[in-house]
Structures are given as structure tokens and as C-alpha cells.
Symmetry: C2
Amino acid sequence: MHSKLFKHINKNIPHYSILDIQNIQDYFEYKKIKKKEFFLIQGSVCSYGAFVLNGCFRNYIISIEGKEVNTQFSFENWWIGDIGSFVNRTPSKINVQALENAELLTISTKNYAALMERSACFNEYTSKLRSSAHLSAVLRLSDLSENAITQYKMMLEKFPKIEQRISQKHIASFLQITPEALSRLKKQN
Amino acid sequence: MHSKLFKHINKNIPHYSILDIQNIQDYFEYKKIKKKEFFLIQGSVCSYGAFVLNGCFRNYIISIEGKEVNTQFSFENWWIGDIGSFVNRTPSKINVQALENAELLTISTKNYAALMERSACFNEYTSKLRSSAHLSAVLRLSDLSENAITQYKMMLEKFPKIEQRISQKHIASFLQITPEALSRLKKQN
DNA sequence: GAAAACACTTGATCTATGTTAAGAGTTTCG
DNA sequence: CGAAACTCTTAACATAGATCAAGTGTTTTC
């Protein structure tokens, strides 16, 4: 099994033995995706979940007024996709785009369902990931009530290296300010 | 089984027969909670999930700068609690407070685990609810990028009767503006 | 049933961020 | 390799919403 995924599962559910995790690998497929390509486009059904081996992605939503709003960045050792769309086979409302050339371990709906049925360990692992993703989104809702400077500092504390990997334009969209405002804000502080 | 919960399950997973749903009721307990009381306080572990029979609740988070930020309102036929805290027995980061006297069907961690193990139907039902709750939070992230008037109109479209049940102060907190700003905004439009 | 606490409105003023525009530097691509 | 397309910065000006303050009406509480 690819050691990154193995370690990630083990870290999240340490009470399972290595043997339980072992054969999970067979359900995944290795794939590459190039910078700027889309992993998921709104309106389409999410047919794969994917674990990010390296590279990074942005999730974004087109707002009512037509703006692209970045809601999340995903780096190594995180999952991308839209679990609701994936499981229920409904059109997704989010876009997931690679911001760097990336390597993924993907899993199809079919293999996911099979794993969920056979592996208590995978069940628990995905349940944790879902809680954690949901909580992140909810906590971001309250972060957005802070002014831009506070939010910017909080983001840097959480991801100290983010500016080396994500363009200012995309960080600004995440903070829900204009690139101009971010530029000014960085100069001041 | 209380018909409201029954109907809600049936509506979400119509492909299961009535018999599958029938005995789910035994795992729940009826409870009342009064206006202003807390269902969940941040820092404590969420020991019950609950289906709202009637009444309403607000979820809120204390922001870094000490403001209460409402992240969600929950009415009849919705679930309250913090699934991450509930399942992993970790301290919650959110507060859930009743805004009206309310009636609930609660389920303990133990009964939840038992139901999850025995009922494929309950499994699928809760999976759907989780997707839906997560998606709502993510979509709200992009809504917050709109100006206050647009957001206010969107909210009224989604919950036309919200102003009869939720005070302006709490709606303002949800929209992440001050009560004064909301008051002005309503006069204009 | 009166006092206290709270909810909402309105006005004046202030400030953070948006908008528009222009220029310099960097990356992409045929 | 060079043109075109981006990215970031800076400045001037505009504006949505915050803050502070005061007044009225409503609800809660003892």
C-alpha cells in the first residue's frame, strides 16, 4: 500500500491493526492530473474520491453574482471530491481544480461501496474525515466574521507555507477580499 | 414511531420499506427543552443527537475576537448536535441553544452505535444527512461573499417565515452584520 | 404591576474594503 | 524567442457597513 495513505489511515484510527488496513490498497487506482485541470466540475456527478499524494487543489463555488469563491485548499494527505455527489450520484455544486501537477489515489463509487461494506476500519476512517471536513467548513463560517487582517494572520498560522504554493489571487478569493485589498494588507503588517 | 421522524426517514431514503424503518423508534427518547436552554455547550462532549419535533435552535461559535456568530438555525424535522464530537467523544467547538420551547427525539451514543450496526437503512439515512449538512455549510461560505442585501433576500427566499421566529439580532449575526445594519437594510428594500 | 432588561430604529460619523486605472514584472505558449 | 496573457502593486476615489449614541417600544422578572 502506498505509505502516505497507509500512514494517514493509521494516524486517524490508530486502534486498528496494520492487517486491517493492509488490503485497502487494492481498491484504489493511481492517477496523475495536471495543473489547471479539473478533478470535479459543478453540475457533474463526482465519480471518484481521491487521496492527494502530492500537489494541491482548490475547491470553489460560483456565487449568485458569478464570482468564483474559493472555499478550501487541499494539499498532500487530504481527500478531494464531493462526498454527497459521490455517494448519492447527484450533480455536484462545487468545482475542484488542480493548482499544481498532482498525483492521486482514486477510488470509484463501486469500490468505495464495496470497501464500506467489507471494512469496518475504512468505515470509521471515512466517518472521521467527514466530521473533520464538516467542522472545518463550520469553523470557517465564524472565521469569515473577522476582518481581513485577522483572518489573514490566522490563515498563516494554520498554513505557514501557503504563500509559497497558492497565488495571491486565490488566497484573496479564499479570504473573500479583492487581490488589491490583500496586497495592501500585506504591506501594512 | 413518531410520525415526523418516520416521514423524514422515509422521505430521505424512499427505497427502503416501511418495515425497515419501523423499529428504529425504540432507540430514541422523547425530551423537552426550554427556550434559552443549551442542548450543547462548546468544550463539552455531545452525548446526544436529536431530531427536532418542534421549536427552533441556533448553532453558534465564539469567534477569536469573542463575538457570538450564528452559523445555523434548526427547525422542525432537522437534526441538532455535533456529529464529530458525538461519534469521537471529543469536546465540541459549537454551541446549540433553544430559541423556543422545543420537543426532541434524542438518541444516545450507545444507541446510535447499535442502530448503525444493525440498520443499513439508518446508516444510509444518517449518511445523507451528513452530506447535506456539510454541503449547506460549504454553500454558506460562498453566500457570505455576497453583500448583505443579496444575502438577506436569499435567506428570505429559503426561509420565508424566518422573521416570525428568529429575532433580528440573531438574523443579523447569521448574516454577519450588526443589528443596526440589518434594520437599515430592511427599510430600504 | 412596576422596574429592569432587552429589542429595534434612526442619525452622525468613521473606516475597511471595493472599484477603476495604470504600470512593472513574470509566466505561458505558439 | 517574442507576444500575449497573467500577476502583483500602488493610487485616488467611492461606498457598504461599523460604531457610538440616544430614544421608543416590548418583554421579562420579582
